[in-house]
């Protein structure tokens, strides 16, 4: 897509903003609409846009598929690990209150939800990019000329 100068310039401006907005949605999720799932999709959308404008190979160079696989698992481990941490602190699974038991404004719940949502962000963004890579890398079994 080398000839589409406008698309490339606009995309270059938009992609950082999209990523930034993803993190806004992520960290605003405690108090308003948003959270890890939505943020993950938005973050992945930035990568998808990059791949659409600059090509799949460029996107794979920037975010290698091996990272995607690690990202998926890291997210789940973050989520589950938070639960395991609460176990080690002596509470029920995912009982975040234990992170700050003295707090009067449930700070523990905030810490817990932050860690868990970060895990969700990781997994959702990686899975979205992974699905896009998987479909994008598919070789057509029969090219149009062969018909």
């Amino acid at each position: 897509m080398n000839q589409h100068l406008i698309l490339r310039v606009v995309a270059k401006i938009l992609i950082p903003l999209i990523a930034l907005f993803a993190f806004y949605v992520q960290f605003h999720g405690d108090y308003g609409p948003g959270g890890g799932f939505q943020a993950g999709v938005i973050l992945a959308a930035a990568v998808v846009l990059y791949a659409l404008i600059f090509g799949l190979q460029a996107a794979k160079d920037a975010i290698p598929p091996s990272w995607v696989r690690i990202g998926m698992t890291t997210g789940v481990l973050l989520y589950g690990g938070t639960g395991v941490a609460t176990w080690f602190l002596g509470a029920n699974f995912l009982d975040y209150t234990i992170f700050a038991p003295e707090s009067t404004h449930s700070a523990g719940q905030h810490y817990g939800i932050l860690a868990v949502e970060l895990g969700v962000l990781c997994t959702v963004a990686s899975v979205m990019v992974g699905i896009f890579y998987a479909f994008g890398s598919r070789q057509p079994e029969l090219s149009d000329e062969d018909w």
């Binding site: 696989r69 789940v76 481990l77 589950g80 639960g83 395991v84 176990w87 029920n92 009982d95």
Partner: protein, 517 residues
Amino acid sequence: MELLSYFPEWVLTHGPALLVVLPLLVAVITALLPSEKIAWLATILTAAMSIFLSVGALQYVLSVGPINYAMGGWEPPLGIGYHIDGLNAPVLLLISAVAFLCTLYALPSVVAEVEPKKRAPFYAAFLVSLAGLLGIVATGDAFNVFVFLEVSSISTYVLVGMGASRDRRALASAYNYLIMGSIGATFFVIGIGFLYMQTGTLNMLDMAQILQQNGAESRVTKLGFAFVVIGLGLKLAMFPLHTWLPGAYAYAPSFFTAFLAATATKAALYLLLRFVFTVFDVDWGYVAGSLTYLIAVLAVIGMLAASLQAIFQKDIRRVLAYSSVAQVGYMLLGIGMATTLGLTGGYLHLINHAMIKGALFLAVGAFWYRFGITQVADMRGLGKTMPWTTAGFTIAGLSLIGVPGTVGFVSKLTLVRAAAENEWWWAVAMIALTSILAIIYLGRLIECAYFHAPPKYGAVPAKRNEAPLMMLIPLWVLAISAIVFGINAEWTTSLAEAAVRVLDAGPNTMPLIKGGH
């Protein structure tokens, strides 16, 4: 109980959650492991740990009482509660034990069936499926059930599809299973939606209590009931909804077929019991009517039709798959009778059939492993070339027919007694008739294995080539347990009776404490 003293208190309290979380987290780590050997080791250790945890839970339930666990410290009905009682504790142990035995078997069989690159992810998918099944059974929250139903189903579709490196038809079967399974899950979640609309809660105990007070006769509840039963019917392969099953069983990698046959339909059957008897109430007209005129009738038609189909199959695994549909019919017949004895028989058959079918599919996997056998006609002379495997297969086969001294006899006898007690003579006749059909479809396999000479390669007959020990051990553990529990059925019967006590007690009538913690 002195056995309980071996379990640390923490394990007993947090066991229900750990049972589900452990395979899930190990699965994630396994997916990244570079070596299949380490992945296998992680899987088998997890399965062993699951057995330990479920034995602890079972002992606690039998000697102390139900275990309740509040996820995240949020007390039900507000939070997600795990609830383990006499009904689901044996199923947890069953799933864990079968998972352990199948994993033992997997080490040689996966090497033969799955491409090297996909082996570690294969084990990861298996662990996810295990976590899903344990979650379905352990949770006391209706929506959580749906989540775990999807977790186990999606990994199951993947695992069935992985049989493609052996037979490309696995892909079509996996896709077929995906469509049918998704419809089943959708129906189930629609049903849960209606129940939520009626009761305003997702906790099963709370739901039951609210429905007891009012709303039992409301159209919304009736719709919810219908959707839940049909959705679960698809998942457990109730007769006209069983079309996904033969393909999925026939082309999945052999160790996974054994696991699937022994556990997946059983978890769905458990759910049917849980919903029909403890969330709804058999005293309500439409519930009792559906059991008698829908489930029992379909069960009997399924027993007959699937047994007849099994006779005409050429593929060994399809014979066993159709036989599974017929055996699900027996369990549903027990449920359809809705009497104490009938339910005991159905539940007993649920446990016993898992042992039998697990052993049969493991043996068939070993036949394929050594000689690449999938067709009935190719079983010629297996009694000579693979004596131990064939002997294990035969014991399990006799047990499936219901020969006295095996588990199949115990559960079929209980079902016949229950049918006679209800004066359902047609059901008694059907159980007898389908047992005869089982003699035909299994006898055909056993006859081929023992009374035909081994095929010749040139002038030399095929040599003796026994399955590796890693495959024989799980097969024989299941085959021997099929005899041990057939001769002394005290333990399995006591488990079934404990489960039926929960069902007979009916829906919960005590309000759960709302909030305030």
